[in-house]
Structure formats: C-alpha cells, structure tokens
C-alpha cells in the first residue's frame, strides 16, 4: 500500500488533511484486501495477505501485499493506491514490483510467480500511456473497494496460471467480487504500519469495551487487551496478529499524551478516563489534528515523544509538593 511521502513538510493543516487521507486509505486498503481474500476463499483458493517470502538465491525476505496460491500456479499482487508523477520515482516503484519476477520460496514451496500491479482503475489509462517508456507489469485494476461490488480487471498482459487466471477474469476480462459487506469488516489491520490515529481509535474502543455503564474509569491489563483485540479481529494468517504490541504501544503513548489514560508499565495496568473523548465530534479528525499538533508532521513519534508541556490544571497546581 503506498503512502504519501513522509519527507514533505507541508503546512500544519495540510499535514492534518494528509493524515486523515492516510487513515481513509488504510481503511480502504483493508476493504480491498479483505474482498479479494474472502472472494478467493469461497473458490477454494488461498490468498496470503502480506506474507513473508524469500527471494531464492538472494537470501533476503520480502513482503508482497497479496500472494495468491492457485492450484496450478502462484501470483503476487503488489498494491499501489497511488503512483508518483516523477518518472524516476515511477520507474523505481515499477522496479520493486518486477523484483518478484524470480524464484520465490514461501513455506515449503518454491515457485516462479506471476506478478501483477494491483492499482485503482482510474490509474490504468495513465499508466498504459507510458507503456513505451516503462516495462509495465501485468496490471490488475480495481474499482473502489468501498462500492458494493468491487470489480477486478486484467488490464495489461495476462495472468497465465490456469486456475489463477480463470478466477481473475470472465470472458470479458473482468471479475466482479460481490463480497458480503459484513464479512470484510472483521479485518481491521494489515501488516503495513497503520496511521497512529487509526490504531488509537480502535484501541480506545477496545479499552471502552471493558467498562461498565456509568463507570468513569476503567482498568484493563495490557496483555489482555492485546489478546482481546486479536480475538475480535481475526488474523490474516497465523504468523501475523492484527494488533502487534508495537502498534499498541504507539497508541498507548498517544493516549497518554492526550491525558486519556495512565499506564503502569510494571503492573501492565492501563487506566482509562472513559469520560474523555466523548464530545470531540468526529474522532478520526480529532485524533489526526492532535497527532499532528503533538508530534509535528512526522508520521510516527520518535522513541521519546516530544511532549508538549501543558499548563497544569488548578487541581494539579495545588496538589504539587513544594520544591
């Protein structure tokens, strides 16, 4: 999944808008992956979402977005939600996709996969116009995954593997994935790093699940929270939990910074003030704004977040011990 460049330093409001867009794109990508995953599952074809594969002979690992395990062949779909305008950057992006055109080892299998770029349908005409300048891979385009029926189409080249190919397109070269909208919302994360406000909203929700009515404070155990989230949101595969501890830690840091929780790392107790965040309107907007204000425009906090010192409340002021 492509993300906006992390090196740009636009104005604060643009940064907030960019982060909000990232949150939406992350959620859309999960809808797309889940649609493909569930559709192929119904046809007894396994799709591995973000599996770790080895490039044979080079002794290095890579994580393609989707690996389709057909009966007679394998296909790798590398997802790009957007592509750079700059020709050099575009060439580099396409090169990373073409790198999969070699022997790959995954689990016990070694194979030469078919490789395709998975991109939004609206990008294909622009890409096809550059066919003479670049070595384009096979393109599998998709209609917006938030539509009821998400359509895949093989736009450039073919997917030769008999089983894989047959599943990807009908006689018109299209595949309509009328995936039940409900099932896909089971999935909340992919391996690619989620925007922290996105994770934070869900972590806050999962903490809130433990509260009783009228309770103003709730305490949950860190380990139980990880377990609970991963139980409710099923993993794509055994090796990848939906919510890793690293992601949870980032959300916890952010929630601490907002003053919504206290975290005792020794006891693993997270105490949440559940009256917080109840009047913020759209939570994703609020969290994106606060995130950019607290952390600046970098997409992730450094190890020690740059905490902005806030003025003490009157209560805190009077509780202070004299120096």
């Amino acid at each position: 999944m492509s993300q906006p460049s992390q090196t740009l330093r636009p104005a604060l409001s643009e940064g907030i808008e960019g982060l909000k867009r990232e949150v939406r794109l992350y959620s859309d990508a999960i809808a797309l992956y889940a649609s493909i995953y569930l559709h192929f599952q119904r046809h007894q074809v396994t799709v591995h979402v973000e599996p770790t594969v080895k490039i044979k002979g080079k002794d290095r690992s890579k994580v393609p977005d989707l690996l389709v395990e057909g009966l007679t062949g394998w296909a790798i779909l590398e997802h790009k939600g957007s592509l750079p305008m700059d020709q050099k950057l575009l060439a580099a992006e396409l090169e990373t996709i073409n790198e999969y055109n070699q022997e790959i080892a995954f689990n016990e299998s070694v194979f030469q996969p078919e490789v395709a770029l998975l991109c939004p349908h609206k990008l294909t005409s622009d890409l096809m116009s550059k066919k003479d300048k670049f070595k384009l891979p096979t393109i599998v385009s998709y209609s917006p995954p938030t539509e009821k029926t998400c359509t895949l189409a093989v736009e450039n080249g073919t997917l030769k593997g008999e089983k894989v190919s047959g599943l990807f397109s009908d006689e018109n070269g299209h595949l309509n994935m009328d995936i039940d909208i409900t099932e896909r919302w089971k999935y909340k994360f992919v391996r690619r790093e989620p925007p922290i406000p996105y994770t934070t909203h869900f972590v806050w929700g999962f903490i809130s699940l433990s509260k009783d009515a009228f309770q103003k404070e709730v305490t949950v155990q860190y380990n139980k929270l990880v377990e609970q989230i991963n139980n409710v949101c099923p993993p794509w595969c055994a090796e990848a939990k939906q919510l890793s501890e690293g992601r949870l830690n980032k959300a916890i840091d952010f929630l601490r910074l907002l003053g919504w929780i206290k975290y005792q790392s020794k006891s693993g107790e997270i105490t949440a003030h559940t009256t917080r965040g109840t009047r913020v309107g759209r939570m994703e907007e609020y969290l994106c704004e606060k995130f950019v204000k607290y952390y600046g425009l970098a997409p992730e906090p450094e190890e020690e977040p740059r905490m902005r010192k806030r003025a003490p409340t009157l209560e805190e002021f009077f509780q202070r011990q004299p120096d």
Partner: protein
C-alpha cells in the same frame, strides 16, 4: 375484564379500575405510561440509579405493583410501577404537574440507559396500531388531532389534523416521505359505541392517556404496544459477535431502505453518529459510509456500514440492546425510510 394476557395479580387491575371513574368523567390529569425492559433486578434499582446520577426509591405494594419515586437533579416525580416477567410498566398520574412528571420520567429513563431499556416503536408500527382499530368487530371511528414528525437535525414539527377529516394513513406516510422525517407521535381519539378514549403514542415508547375508557386504552393500545415493544427489544438482544470453534460469527443487523439515501444524508448520518457516540468516520459516504462507533456510557462498539439502499450494523464483543436501540433510533431519524430485516447473515 382482563387488561393484560399475562396479568397474574389483581393489584394492577384494581389500580386501573380505581382510576377509571375519574378518567371516564374527564377530571383526571393525563396518565403517562412507559414500558421498559430491565437489565437489572428491582432490588438493585436504587443503587443503579445513584450510579447513573439520578435517584429512585421503590416500595413494594401488593403483587406486581410498587410505588416508585424518582429524582432528577432538583425535580421529583412519583409513579406506580408494575413489574411483570415481560416488562416494567411505569404509570404516572400526578394531579400537581402531570406534564412535568411525564417529562421527568422520560428523562429519568434516558439517564438509566443501558440498565433500563425504554420501549420504542417504528413509525410503521405506530400507524399499524391505529389501522388495527379498523379490524375490530365493531370498527370505531378514529379521529386524529395531531401528529408530530421528527426530522434530523431540525427536531420535532407538530402537524395539526384538519378537524372532521377522517383518519387516513396515506396522508401521514406522504408527510413522512416528503419531509424525510420519522413519525414521532400521534394523538388520536377512538369513538366506539359506548366507550371512547383519547391518547398519544410516541416512537420512544411514551404513551399518554388523556380521558375516556382507561380499560379500552389498556387493552387496545397498551397491551398490543407492550407486545410489539418486547419483540423490538428482543430483536436487539444477543447481537454481540460470537466465537464458535475458533471462528468469529457476526450477528449483524441489516436495515433496508425503501428509497435510496442521498449522499448528503449519508454524510449527515456519519455526523449524527459521531455526535451521539464516540465515532470515527473511516469512509464518508460516497458511495459508502463506514463509521466505527463506541457508546459513551457503556462502551458497546459497532461498525456501521451504510450504502444508499442498505445499512448494516456490525456489533463487536459488547453491544447492549439499549445501545443498539439508541443507534437504531438515530438512524431511523436521519434515514426514516429504513426497515429492519429479520435474521442475520447466517440465517438469510
């Protein structure tokens, strides 16, 4: 005459019969009646009320009947509470300030969410009730005096019924469609041969009896509406996602719309959910609205996925009926032409 098919004690019927003469002669104040479904024991009511920031004192009388006194900030109101296996029924007949007492109980019940779940009705169910009088052996004359539409975010609009004009469901349905509003309440009078009565039925379960035959009101309005309320309540129970043999089973709620919801209304629905719940809009309504919402009070959590022709609510591992009903009521306020689909994905 038996007022309720499930009535086990005479104390409640005696109480109603005591009230009857004053209502028949039109000298009694309006009787406010609420049906609620408890998620607590009666003995816990006072403690739970304190936790909710209100107060409640209960004194058991004969059989199913209790005296109930509630306090809401500085306001106080008293009522009779009938506790049965299927529901709690609160009856407020206060000669001092009947309207205020009714309001106090309405707000008190709101404060008790999610431990007491108020009855609710769809616009269609309220109109079905009025229609049902036409199916009686001796169909009475029905006279509507007013109905109230509730449009989001504008709020309620009172519509006066032309005097002498016979009741016609299609007139109200047309107004519902034209105004994109829910039927909030309807006030009507039933003229039968010997008995007549006047009452109001609201979608939030608040029923008001003004005058006439209280026994007719109880048997023709309250009893059937209490049964409908129970069916409605049961629809929203046990909707948490289950874990069966390591698999997650969703117990989602599906709503179909009679008319496509315009994109701007889908966006409005997102904002409405975020105002009433802690909500994050992860896709904002073109063509799909996708919101994750957390109940502020009890922490229930759901995904809401709305297309112009279909809305799906997907609960997480905690989803109280009260919370789901609040969400459903909100959805049907913003998108009134929405109908619940029976069953879940697994059953359809």
């Amino acid at each position: 005459m038996e007022l309720f098919s499930d009535a086990r004690s005479d104390s409640f019927q005696d109480f109603i019969m005591e009230l009857a003469p004053n209502y028949a002669s039109g000298i009694a104040p309006p009787l406010h009646l609420f049906v609620a479904f408890p998620e607590i024991d009666l003995s816990n009511l006072p403690n739970v009320a304190v936790s909710a920031g209100v107060a409640a004192d209960v004194k058991r009388l004969d059989g199913e009947l209790c005296d109930l006194v509630v306090r809401l900030r500085k306001r106080r109101a008293s009522a009779k509470l009938r506790v049965s296996d299927s529901n709690w029924m609160i009856m407020v007949s206060s000669p001092e300030s009947p309207v205020t007492s009714g309001e106090v109980f309405e707000k008190w019940l709101d404060s008790m969410h999610p431990k007491l779940v108020s009855a609710f009705f769809d616009s269609r169910q309220v109109l079905d009730l009025v229609d049902s009088f036409g199916n009686l052996e001796m169909p009475p004359e029905i006279s509507v005096s007013e109905f109230v539409l509730r449009e989001y975010p504008k709020g309620p609009t009172h519509k006066t019924w032309e005097k002498g004009k016979p009741y016609d469901r299609s007139i109200i349905e047309k107004q519902i469609k034209e105004n994109n509003a829910a039927l909030d309440s309807i006030k009507f009078r039933i003229f039968a041969d010997r008995d007549s009565f006047e009452c109001r039925v609201s979608r939030n379960g608040h029923m008001v009896f003004y005058e006439g035959s209280i026994s007719q009101f109880m048997s023709l309005v309250v009893s059937p509406m209490a049964e409908i309320a129970k069916v409605n309540y049961d629809f929203f129970r046990d909707r948490e996602r289950d874990f069966v043999q390591g698999e997650i089973v969703l117990n989602e709620i599906r709503l179909k719309t009679e008319k496509d919801i315009p994109t701007r209304h889908l966006e409005r629905l997102g904002d409405a959910i975020c105002n009433a719940f802690v909500g994050a809009v992860l896709h904002s309504g073109n063509p799909m609205l996708y919101v994750n919402a957390i109940d502020r009070l009890d922490g229930s959590m759901f995904d809401i996925c709305a297309y112009p022709d279909e809305i799906t609510i997907i609960p997480y591992s905690k989803a109280t009926p009260s919370s789901l009903i609040s969400l459903y009521m909100l959805i049907t306020e913003v998108a009134p032409l929405t109908r619940r689909m029976e069953g879940t994905l697994a059953q359809n």
